[in-house]
Symmetry: C2
Subunit: 218 residues, 2 copies
């Protein structure tokens, strides 16, 4: 049965879901474009799928599911037997995947998103960044990435010797931090973090998603 | 093998882990008190367990695991065959548990924690709340709880007809929102949210954890 993904390839959360589908070698899916510019995500029909009015939503048969990190967990389990073992191979590996996926969501994502909002989204609205917020958040992110540097000196990926949901979940926001917010040095100045970024951002799944996104932006 | 939980019963994140252990009828665990007042969580020994210097951490044999929502997922799976089915009984139920657990973490927790910080933590430091932040965050939380009200009019628990990790994860922060921040009306003014709160906050597991916490506070 075809999986429908309601979203936009340029959105971080949709990109997380699409990358998982490619990693799992699922080709039977359809991306239903949700036009944020015309507020399609705030219309009654869409709100019956996603009551908070955000993207993405996935429909798989009778199941309607939102929250990108819930969707990628669902896909990793449903397609456990094919593609990359995104949840690891043992209960202990899986626990470590969950741990670093939570670190991404509770720590990295919060800080990186604040920086992107301050330096990119506010500029689009003609607002200056709030300098004290930017400074404090960069310091916070530096300390998070120092922990990553130590962890990635011990293993090639966050949860161990395998590419997992935890690494994957960092891809979209790290890209916008490096490109849109023009802060590549946060990554490139740390040897092991930079090696990890090279390793994960050159995966065919992610290259496909960035191509889908840049096709939309042209 | 005895599970060691490094934390404090009064901490929201530790409480989440202890409630899961009680729901799973795991009695073979030991709570190793981490004295935050003396900065025990910032000492080198502790930082080898939890490099970000926060609580809790769980040790189970050779596995050391942090991030409370990763720990509760691990425990729900490890003890799948005993106690409450906190992850549901089918892949679809489990997907819905993940969805609402992410809503808790990304939406409810962020807003509720900001309110508790503004009205409780700042007062302890002699600082006044930032009124514009409080107002905007209460509005945000009201809109989140309106979605909960609709969802809970359709099923007794967030993910369906069973108490799950998603409900459980709301317990500590909702308690501090209602008691410490003195905002019970956010819950009690919504019929279905209030019924749900009565249903989940009277579970023996949670009562045990609140008793452990109030024993410490005496």
């Amino acid at each position: 049965m075809t999986i429908t993904v309601h979203g936009q390839a340029t959105s971080s959360c949709t990109a997380r879901v699409l990358t998982t589908l490619f990693e799992k070698e699922v080709s039977d899916f359809y991306l239903q474009h949700v036009d944020l510019a015309s507020s399609a995500h705030k219309q009654p029909d869409y709100l019956t799928l996603q009551p908070f009015g955000v993207i993405p939503v996935v429909q798989d048969g009778d199941l309607t599911l939102f929250e990108s990190r819930a969707i990628i967990r669902y896909l990793a389990l449903k397609y456990e037997g094919q593609g990359s073992p995104l949840y690891g191979r043992t209960p202990e590996e899986r626990a470590k995947v969950e741990q670093w996926l939570e670190v991404e969501s509770q720590n990295f994502h919060v800080a990186a998103s604040t920086i992107v909002y301050q330096l990119v989204s506010r500029a689009k609205k003609g607002l200056a960044p709030e300098e004290d917020v930017v400074k404090a958040t960069i310091e916070k992110l530096e300390s998070i990435l120092d922990v990553y540097e130590k962890q990635l000196s011990k293993s090639p990926f966050l949860a161990g010797d395998f590419f997992s949901l935890a690494d994957l979940s960092h891809l979209p926001r790290t890209k916008s931090l490096m490109k849109s917010a023009k802060m590549p040095h946060l990554i490139t100045s740390r040897k092991h973090v930079n090696d990890w970024w090279q390793r994960i951002s050159t995966r065919p799944s992610w290259i496909k998603v960035t191509e889908m996104a840049s096709g939309l932006q042209k």
